[in-house]
Amino acid sequence: MIEVISLALANLTSPAVLFFALGIFAGVAKSDLNVPEAVAKGLALYLMLAIGFKGGVAVSEQGFTAALALAALAGIVLSFAMPLIAYGLLRAMTKLDPVTAAASAAHYGSISVVTFVAGAEFLQMSGMVSSGYMVAVLALMETPAILTGLILAGRAAGSDQRTRSELVREVALNGSVVLLLGSFLIGMLSGQSGMAKLEPFVVDLFQGVLALFLLDMGLVAARRLSGAKKLGAGGIAFGLIMPPIGASLALATAWLIGMSAADAAALMILAGSASYIAVPAAMRIALPQADPSVYLTLSLAITFPFNLTLGIPLYAAVARLAIGG
């Protein structure tokens, strides 16, 4: 227990989390501090390239295994399933219209890359090294939830041909999915010899880039906080309880398929996180009538900060208790 608390504290005083807090502070205080959009996108590209590549190199050593296939399947099933729960909760806890509720629910089936990245760093710090292939699981979980969201909104069939093809592009060929899976494959193909070339870039710089990126996430989250009033207490509560619910589901799944504690924690982090890039874009295309300020506020201003500060250490501690290791 003491160890759990001390790890949670270590998380809260890690530079990455502190830079996020600095961003929140600067945003709330209306400082003119800002990270240029192009730089923020460049940092995001870097993080996805690096995390994908490192995962791929790790898998190139372990090879494809049944565990990998099971983990991938588990992730996909979770991504499809979680929006159902989220939708039910949103309808019960808030007064959102059904379409906005469905669109928001989709975000919770999908994942947040940065939450995963911060979580992986935390796990490593706690001596829990998750498998390289969890990156592939991450990429595979990004989009199934979108389909569930559309079904919930009664829109899976109703849309025109053009919208469907736009949607396929957004879903299957979404930039972050392509870059994550692509870098993963490149890591697998180029293995240790590739890692020898890219190590200073993808490994050494990683924490620093993450810190700078989280500074910007804080600024953006702060800008979104103003939308929280519109959500009401019910909406805010949803943003805080849905992550542990998703994570619990992930824990059960992980236990079922015999994952290690570290992999279970990683899966919990994925399940507990909510998308703020891929899913919003898809929802603008398929459900333009859903209110974007609802799902962006939920995902960026409520769920992301919760996971980054409390959720990650919580999931790690529970995974260790439940699965051992």
Partner: protein, 102 residues
């Protein structure tokens, strides 16, 4: 000197729907356009800012110079478009040089 008069149209559209609008313009017979990034804005759906990650609500301005008939076709086709998707469109007369281009 009097110069040829053409229509200028400006549409403000979400980046995710830009291709769809450009295709609609091409179907109406528009042969030239220029797109500009918007930085932030406010409309019926509330505020948005570029750089909010989620480019979901980011917008573009599309400028078109075209002749009156084509403009009429664009207006007609744009009306249902902008009922469905966020954004606006408007137009006015302009004098041009090399009027045969448009």
């Amino acid at each position: 000197m009097t110069r040829p008069v053409r229509k200028k149209l400006i549409a403000i559209v979400e980046t995710v729907h830009l291709r769809r609008l450009l295709d609609l313009l091409a179907e109406c017979g528009v042969t030239g356009f220029t797109v500009v990034d918007a930085r932030e804005g406010r409309g019926l759906e509330g505020d948005w800012h570029r750089g909010d990650f989620a480019d979901a609500t980011e917008k573009k301005l599309v400028h078109v110079i075209t002749n009156a008939e084509t403009a009429e076709r664009v207006f007609a086709a744009a009306e249902p478009f902008f009922k469905r998707f966020p954004g606006i469109i408007y137009g006015h007369d302009v004098e041009v040089v090399r009027g045969e281009r448009f």
